[in-house]
Point group: none
Chain length 297, copies 2
Amino acid sequence: MSDAPIAERLLAIFDDLPPQHQVAARWLLDHPHDVALLSMREQAKRVGVPPATMTRLAQRLGYDGFEELKEMYAASLRGHAEHFAGRTEKLLQRRALDGDAALTSDLLADLSGHLKLLSSATTLSAIARAADIVVERERLFCIGARSSFSSAHLAAYLLSLIGEQTVLADGAGSIGLDALRDIGPNDALLAMTIAPYTRVTVEAVAFARERGASIIAITDSNVSPIARQAKATIIVPTSTPSFLQTVAPALIVIECIAALVAARRGKKAVSAIAAAEDHLERFGSYYTDKTNKGRTS
Amino acid sequence: MSDAPIAERLLAIFDDLPPQHQVAARWLLDHPHDVALLSMREQAKRVGVPPATMTRLAQRLGYDGFEELKEMYAASLRGHAEHFAGRTEKLLQRRALDGDAALTSDLLADLSGHLKLLSSATTLSAIARAADIVVERERLFCIGARSSFSSAHLAAYLLSLIGEQTVLADGAGSIGLDALRDIGPNDALLAMTIAPYTRVTVEAVAFARERGASIIAITDSNVSPIARQAKATIIVPTSTPSFLQTVAPALIVIECIAALVAARRGKKAVSAIAAAEDHLERFGSYYTDKTNKGRTS
DNA sequence: CGTGCTTTGCAACAACTGTTTCATTTATGG
DNA sequence: CCATAAATGAAACAGTTGTTGCAAAGCACG
């Protein structure tokens, strides 16, 4: 790629660049495909710097202006495109890859299929129903064990970030399900488990149901022990070409629910996030150098 | 490629096109790479037709104007081919859905694009390198905070499941980074953080590096504070149509690494899992009824 | 605490973008 | 051969492009 040298040079001098130029440089590094395809102003807008900064960065790199730099990226894109001219080549290429890359891209292909499943009408509406429940109820308890714990944790984190009252029921310190002690009809329980189903999760669901709480179940089958207990059941695929199962679809469902809840809360969610970030900043949780102020993309 | 359908259609109606339009169409067919990279006027000049002809040809193809056609070619250049392939369909479909389902399927579409990015050659090889490191080193420490914690947790869980020596460095009980106290050259640290970067994670990486440990970084940019510290750096996309970021790609990378490590360990990994499951069964961790014996998918 | 230098954002710039209108030419069918 | 429609090219259009001049702010150094 002919933009590779540019990227390298950019990386080399990156630390010596003034802050705004670093922000711009970061865009070039992170979105090489877009440089030639978007107008400079458009890119400037996306990064959050004035157009002039783009031109200046290009000039600093020794080019006449941003247009010349764009030309370079265009050339590299052309080369790249020719290289990838045919899809068939790519497939052949894959077979030729060593086992590692083959396994990995098989796994990714599988997941891509799973994503399609998630966008089926039944799943979409189940997700929407789950979001409804979260919005309606006062508190949300989240539970998930073993591989499902990561999803449960993310659910608790994201939803509390956008201002929901959430409680993560993990077993830290062996307190087990004590967190659920005062769960009631005004609360909801988001439970996630896939085969082989974890006992505590199943029991937590049963318990929460007795108490009149609304259940949101994320699981792998309609006959999963928690599926029929729930007010909203979301079935996620878990198969992979490896003998390990995947929880990625489940995690994605969590993110979808969070996005929906955020959308419904609207400004309230935005200000909750802002407050959370202020809080974190005050305690110096974030790493800062003059470089990375904003979020790219 | 998303310009393929255009090319096909162009070819089909070519003979019925008026002479000047044929000339223009020939350009599109012969120089698909340039369509998105050159201005329409420039292309018109090269072909020898007035600019208007270009616009008119595009309109004849059903597009609003040449700009829209350019957009299609741009998408195909980016490699997001699939993503834009059924863009119009998707847009129509989306309009028909209520707001909830629309947002959700947008999110899923975005993720689908991210998956493609993950299967790029550079990412694949970075993942393979990461797996190498895990296999080579004696112990693997995992760290990730906030939204990245779920990925770190899953990494620690999966890899210990298949028999790797793993330590999850979370801050439970405020012990902070004590877990890293005795990290050394024979160990590896898998660290994950996305903007805004969490201070402890960045510091943990710096510390581990001083101690001579190998770093595997999963982050969102080449200029992330941990990217250049690492022996293997995997860049994951995090953007979504919502204002929340996604960690799904990162989680998927984790699963890929785990799958690769499992593959390399071979039988050893399988027996490790079997042992772990026996262990769990003995302690009654799993829920059982006559219904659910095996794993559904 | 200034001094000189760099960095930054704004506003104005001319050049160029893609589109459209309209008069003219060319082809087509009765 | 004319009448009608289609195709064409020139010119004008508003909008956007990338660039630059300038003033204000920020910074390091003495």
